[in-house]
């Protein structure tokens, strides 16, 4: 400790004036912070540049062009907030916001609940755990397009669930969510859950398995029911895993696009529109770049509104804790 005290009191570190005093002390002085871990810093430079140029740069470019009237090609003729006025006056956009809200809420809740329940069941040391885990995780390995098509077939009234149940004798059974304005979003939700909960389950299972076995013993001796142990003791203990799951699910929700394309292409009518689909359609179908950019800027703002307070709470508050 004394060494660093001397070197820092003799003026700025590494300044020429301090060299003389340093020379009399054959002690390694504290290296400048800039040069600590130099190799790893150099190695990070390309990544940092990539992030800055591609991610930040392109984001700014998109935001800027959302204030223009670009059509097929980007051009910088600013029209103020005109694109945003059109956007919020557009029925399709409003439908997609509503759909996203329904899909997002349900997807978040059910992914967490089902994922945790499956993990808790697997944790009860059942037989064939590996088999179950593979089966449940398997859909995650598929692309959203494949999932979407598979579920389009399963939900298709001509050869899916409806057909099977009718063949069993229930002639009047109707189950056709993908062709119903009202229920189409739940058809997409089922496919999304089928694909996504496996990963959540695996994350949660890893978290649960990481908990000291003695915790379970202690709670059994105190006579706390298993479900209560999970809810009141285990869930708070695997908080980091849950936070990770929430972030993963949320990013999946915002990006939901391929699933809609494969299952319904936004139909029937516009009833299964999603914001990402709206962006893609405006940019490439309607050749209305600025409108697409305005929609994607709104998505960015929405994500930022959710993420920034969360990131602040999760990472920024560290020092004041404890």
């Amino acid at each position: 400790m004394a060494d660093t005290g001397i070197s820092s009191s003799s003026g700025a570190r590494g300044a020429p004036g301090s060299v003389a005093t340093q020379a009399t002390l054959p002690i390694a002085r504290k290296p400048s912070r800039l040069f600590r871990n130099l190799a790893s810093k150099i190695a990070l430079v390309p990544m940092i540049l990539t992030v800055l140029v591609i991610f930040v740069g392109c984001t700014i470019w998109t935001v800027v062009h959302s204030f223009t009237s670009s059509k097929l090609l980007p051009k910088l003729d600013f029209v103020g907030l005109a694109q945003y006025e059109r956007l919020w006056g557009n029925d399709r956009w409003m439908v997609s916001i509503k759909n996203l809200a329904v899909y997002g809420t349900c997807s978040m809740i059910f992914s967490l609940v089902i994922g945790f329940t499956l993990a808790a069941l697997l944790d009860r040391k059942i037989r064939f755990e590996n088999t179950f885990r593979t089966i449940i995780l398997y859909p995650f390995a598929l692309s959203f397009i494949v999932t979407g098509l598979v579920w389009q077939w399963i939900l298709n009234p001509d050869f899916g669930i409806e057909k099977v149940v009718r063949d069993l004798g229930f002639e009047s059974f109707v189950f056709d969510p993908l062709h119903s304005d009202q229920f189409v979003i739940y058809g997409i939700l089922i496919a999304g859950l089928w694909q996504g909960t496996g990963l959540v389950m695996c994350l949660m299972l890893a978290g649960i398995r990481g908990i000291d076995e003695d915790i379970w013993k202690a709670s059994r001796i105190e006579g706390i029911p298993v479900w209560k142990t999970y809810v009141q003791i285990i869930i708070p203990m695997i908080r980091p895993v849950i936070v990770t799951s929430v972030v993963l699910i949320a990013s999946g929700i915002v990006k939901v696009y391929d699933l809609v394309v494969a299952q319904t292409s936004g139909g029937p009518g516009t009833s299964s529109q999603m914001p990402a689909l709206y962006v893609m359609d405006r940019m490439f179908k309607d050749q209305n770049l600025a409108q697409g950019f305005a929609a994607s800027t709104m998505m960015l703002v929405a994500v930022a509104i959710i993420l920034i307070p969360w990131a602040y709470l999760e990472f920024g508050g560290k020092k004041s804790r404890g």
């Binding site: 003695d214 915790i215 013993k217 202690a218 059994r220 001796i221 105190e222 708070p236």
Partner: protein, 365 residues
């Protein structure tokens, strides 16, 4: 099958013919153990000998393969852990990290729907006994290891049970804290006077805490006795070697006509406290380092001639390593009596404290 006739209803814990298999491995082998009310029993043995397994069986955390467990005169063999009237303390503390100390201690009671006033009273009493009142509103993460273990003991204490089970509660603490908390556990036992079963691999803990020690090996209790008996009259070679530090000196030889013969050594066995000394072609003489004294005068049949090799200063006393024929012998001597390497001395044997083992059966004679 075992009969129920012999179950001792006087015992606090009664284990009858207990067997536990993990798959094909038999971890506990037909074990019997009676623990009197208020007794402090220590299960001592090397790692992996089945101590924790036995404790978990008593607690009901493991389903036993065969046998019976009785606690306070009730057959609890198939009872849930919470119904057995036990409290348990673990090596890893097993506190609930998101709850305060108070929350940890009251969680189980709340779950039993106990009135809040009663919970508060119990927590306050336990906190006072363990001197953790200032910590009640802290979380376990903000406590030291010793404090955490006190809280874990407190959590068992508030249950107001007759039987306490400890699974190596001090093994995660440093030496100083360990000896402090050891004394505290002893004090707790004196105060509460309930039955305690305490698992450890540390013989100092066992010798200081126990009313009786059960020395285990390979799922079998080798000896169950008071600490002094275990120390002075180990039932077999394993117990003799496991207890005592430095370990007992073993000299291989033969017993013939009331004398013990080994290479260059003849000792008269008169005064030996144990069984009849019939002739044995293969026997082992066990002598603890503190039961030998260094003298300059040889007495035929009473002393062993030896040469000093190393003198280790242990602070309070000194440990002398000597060579007697082929045998390495250690002797504890006062620090002032230190001797130089190469000195020839004679070791006087206190035959009343010696042990003789049959080399075949390894049992004490």
């Amino acid at each position: 099958m075992n009969t129920m006739t012999a179950v001792n209803t006087e015992s606090s814990i009664s284990i009858r013919d207990l067997t536990l298999n993990f798959g094909a491995v038999q971890v506990l082998k037909r074990m019997d153990l009676e623990v009197a009310p208020g007794e402090f029993i220590v299960l001592l043995g090397p790692s992996g000998c089945g101590k924790s397994t036995l404790l978990n069986c008593i607690a009901g955390l493991l389903d036993i393969t065969d046998g019976q467990i009785w606690i306070k005169g009730k057959n609890v063999t198939w009872a849930e852990p919470s119904e057995r009237g036990i409290g348990m303390v673990f090596q890893s503390y097993a506190l609930y990290p998101q709850m305060t100390v108070r929350g940890n201690m009251s969680f189980g009671l709340k779950n039993q729907k106990m009135p809040q006033a009663e919970i508060d009273a119990r927590v306050a009493r336990a906190a006072e006994i363990l001197q953790i009142q200032p910590l009640l509103d802290r979380k376990p993460g903000a406590l030291s290891g010793g404090q955490r273990q006190r809280v874990a003991i407190g959590r068992a204490l508030v249950r107001d049970v007759d039987v306490f089970l400890f699974d190596e509660p001090l093994s995660n603490l440093d030496a100083k804290l360990r000896s402090e908390l050891r004394v505290e556990i002893k004090r707790l036992h004196n105060k509460l006077n309930n039955t305690m079963v305490y698992v450890t691999h540390d013989q100092i803990e066992a010798l200081t805490l126990a009313d009786r020690i059960a020395v285990m090996r390979g799922g079998v209790i080798q000896q169950l006795d008071e600490p002094q008996t275990i120390y002075n009259r180990p039932a077999n070679l394993f117990v003799a070697g496991f207890i005592g530090s430095p370990s007992m000196n073993f000299i291989h030889g033969a017993v013939k006509g009331g004398k013990f013969y080994a290479e260059g050594i003849v000792v008269d066995l008169a005064g030996y406290e144990g069984g009849a000394l019939i002739d044995r072609p293969k026997a082992i003489l066990g002598l603890r380092p503190e039961h030998l004294t260094v003298t300059n005068t040889a007495v035929a049949g009473k002393t062993i001639a030896a040469t000093v090799e190393i003198d280790e200063n242990l602070g309070a006393d000194s440990l002398l390593w000597l060579k007697a024929g082929d045998n390495q012998i250690s002797v504890r001597i006062p620090v002032e009596d230190r001797l130089n390497a190469g000195t020839s001395v004679h070791l006087e044997v206190d035959m009343s404290k010696a042990s003789i083992f049959d080399a075949e059966t390894e049992a004490r004679v």
